[in-house]
């Protein structure tokens, strides 16, 4: 089961921080929640949405190295413009949401495992 990233964005009142022209092409089939970069590198898989409250530039480096296409910041965490620029450069979609990591993960889980 995979869904378009737009479906998640709608459910979590998400705001897209990066260039939005590629959104239609981003399909998600899973998610990973972590604020430890080495844990993400060791365990995250391609095409997962990474839900985090970390907003340092290293987040983009890790997402790029692990081939993740989307990072979702919880609790309205807003990264600096330099982080957004780097994400655009790497082709990684950044979203921020007022929801907590728990709520975002719950919404994504429901989306992917209906019924």
């Amino acid at each position: 089961m995979s869904v378009n990233i737009n479906e998640l964005i709608r459910r979590i009142d998400g705001e897209v921080l990066t260039k939005a022209d590629q959104l239609e092409q981003i399909k998600i089939s899973d998610g990973y929640v972590s604020d430890l970069l080495s844990d993400v590198m060791g365990n995250a898989k391609e095409h997962q949405v990474w839900i985090t409250i970390m907003k340092h530039l290293n987040v983009i480096a890790v997402a790029a190295l692990a081939n993740m296409s989307c990072v979702c910041f919880a609790n309205n965490v807003s990264p600096d413009q330099a982080v957004i620029d780097k994400a655009n450069e790497e082709g990684i979609c950044l979203i921020k949401s007022p929801f907590s990591t728990f709520e975002i993960a719950g919404n994504l889980y429901q989306l992917l495992h209906k019924g």
């Binding site: 060791g42 190295l65 692990a66």
Partner: protein
């Protein structure tokens, strides 16, 4: 001097062949890593990944190289006084050597234990310092070789076969 070496089962034969043949690298690149320079740390690893991608290396192998190399690069940034990365690209593998300027690892056996870390607050604020760096390198590299001692350089070498 403490030495640790891990060779994945699948890579035993390839590694034996590699050490016997001692081929010349197709390409060799060097990078500098600055002490606590978290802004630039990771650049070498992403350049290495991009180069291998252009050479047509498959995405799963790219991910393994990128993760192992990035963890090692972060280790040099976070724990050492800075150092050098030498990346040798061969027809069937990549060999990356990380040589820092000390101060060395006091207890290598401990450092290899998942969850054990000497990271300071700055490193932890950056999202690192969970004690998973060396275990991640071991998990992703086909060959991992590390030598270190207190007040000396640490030399970490990784090889990933395509």
């Amino acid at each position: 001097m403490a030495v640790y070496c891990n060779i994945s089962e699948d890579a035993q034969q390839k590694y034996e062949h590699f050490t016997k043949e001692k081929p010349n690298p197709e390409m060799s690149i060097e990078y500098k890593v600055g002490h606590k320079d978290f802004v630039n740390s990771g650049k070498a690893s992403s350049e290495i990944k991009l180069m291998l991608k252009r050479l047509g290396v498959n995405p799963e192998i790219l991910r393994k190289v990128a993760v192992a190399s990035y963890e090692a690069e972060i280790n040099v940034t976070a724990h050492s006084l800075g150092g050098d990365i030498i990346c040798d690209i061969y027809l069937d593998c990549v060999h990356i050597k990380f040589i820092d300027n000390g101060p060395g690892i006091k207890n290598l056996e401990k450092a290899l234990e998942p969850g054990w870390s000497t990271a300071d607050d700055l490193v932890r604020e950056m999202g690192f310092g969970a004690g998973l760096g060396l275990p991640n390198i071991k998990k992703n590299a086909d060959v991992m070789h590390i030598e270190s001692a207190e007040n000396q350089s640490t030399i970490l070498q990784i090889i990933v076969f395509y």
